[in-house]
């Protein structure tokens, strides 16, 4: 992660000086991670693709405003976060209209469960979280960001980050690894 940060810093510096290839390399390095982050938030591949594209475009146009070139990743995810939630806010009435409001309790993954079934159980459990809780899980578990980086991306204090994440994990744990009723 340290080497990657150094390399990102170097590439951002070059891109600021007009080196197009350096920014293209940053795009190829981060596109999959940003896409997956956005996809887990907006739950639609095409929307996720558009938001990811917009995030990279905005990042390029505002590269000069990035104070610390070594913090490119949290800054890029912050842009992707803003774009995603802007889209979610626009979609909200439509999404709310489609939802019945009641979601079935997912079956916890068991030892004999197929990967697809586990995946469905996980997706169902994640769908029961609020967008903010889900985002905290995505940033920590799937993207591996530290608490302080998450705080930077989400624009909230570390204590709020932890509170969201801990509540989400408690809910997920109860869905995906419930205590045996015999206990």
């Amino acid at each position: 992660m340290i080497f990657r940060e150094v390399e990102d810093r170097d590439l951002v510096g070059k891109a600021r000086r007009g080196d197009v290839d350096a920014y293209n390399l940053l795009v190829s390095r981060w596109e999959k991670r940003v896409f997956n982050y956005v996809f887990r938030l907006v739950s639609n591949r095409e929307d996720a693709m558009d938001v990811t594209q917009d995030a990279f475009l905005k990042a390029y146009q505002n590269l000069g405003k990035l104070d610390d070139a070594g913090r490119f990743a949290p800054w890029l995810f912050r842009i992707a976060h803003n774009e995603s939630f802007s889209l979610l806010r626009k979609m909200k009435p439509e999404v709310a209209g489609d939802e019945s409001g009641i979601e079935p309790e997912p079956l916890p993954p068991g030892p004999r469960m197929l990967p697809m079934e586990t995946s469905l159980a996980v997706n169902a459990a994640l769908a029961r979280l609020t967008p903010e809780q889900k985002e905290a899980v995505v940033l920590k578990v799937y993207q591996g960001f530290k608490f302080d980086e998450m705080s930077e991306i989400l624009g909230i204090p570390v204590s709020t980050v932890k509170s969201r994440l801990y509540t989400a994990l408690e809910l997920l744990k109860n869905s995906l690894s419930p205590v045996s009723p015999a206990r």
Binding site: V20, D21, T52, Y60, Q61, T118, K173, R183
Partner: protein, 207 residues
């Protein structure tokens, strides 16, 4: 706090790799003697393993690069952008050619007071030289642009190849770590199940 035992230890921070070395040691010492917290930690591990079992998606198509149309700057951004290398090369050659032309054909530079006496443009010593020079200049510009483009293309290819290689290495390392974690968590989960079964048996015997 997750535990029903009195411990103030942060098991989630431990599980997510956010605990300090001292906190890690404290948690490890505690779970050796507290089965409840050991069970809680195992459940967190199973939850994390289940979440990580969902694979990442491949983007349906690649994100456009800066050289693609979507990244084209607006007119006002173009004004502020530095001149690209090929344009600079071309401009330098054109500037050089103008200077060369002025030296070659000094009659085009008119001193004040000599307007009436000096024709604005004297014929070139050799009339065939002008088109030849122009063709030479165009060829030089084209060659310079082609060279710059070729170098840029090679550099992009090299950078992308390096990035792919690095990405593949990162991915292999991550997979190895995930597999090791998954095995460890499965082991812990099995231990937890065994522990639950033994508690159930003890309870049944007690009744």
């Amino acid at each position: 706090m997750l535990m029903r035992c009195d411990s103030e230890l942060d098991l989630i921070a431990y599980q997510l790799g956010e605990a300090t070395a001292a906190e890690r040691r404290a948690v490890e010492a505690h779970i050796r003697q507290c089965e409840e917290c050991a069970g809680e930690l195992a459940r967190l591990g199973v939850t994390q393993a289940a979440l990580l079992s969902v694979r990442e998606e491949e983007p349906p198509r690649r994100i456009a690069f800066v050289s693609d149309k979507v990244f084209e700057p607006t007119w006002w951004q173009r004004l502020w952008q530095p001149m690209p290398a090929w344009a600079l090369a071309a401009a330098s050659i054109v500037a050089g050619a103008i200077v060369f032309h002025a030296v070659w054909n000094p009659g085009t530079v008119v001193a004040p007071g000599h307007i009436a006496q000096t024709p604005l443009r004297r014929p070139l010593p050799d009339a065939a030289a002008a088109p030849m020079m122009e063709a030479k200049m165009v060829a030089m510009v084209q060659q310079a642009v082609a060279d710059v483009e070729k170098r840029a293309e090679q550099r992009t290819r090299t950078l992308l190849a390096e990035a792919d290689k690095r990405h593949e290495l990162d991915r292999s390392e991550m997979l190895a770590v995930m597999n090791a974690n998954y095995e460890e968590l499965s082991k812990r989960y099995k231990n937890l199940l065994r522990y639950t079964a033994s508690v159930d048996t003890q309870a049944a015997v007690g009744q």
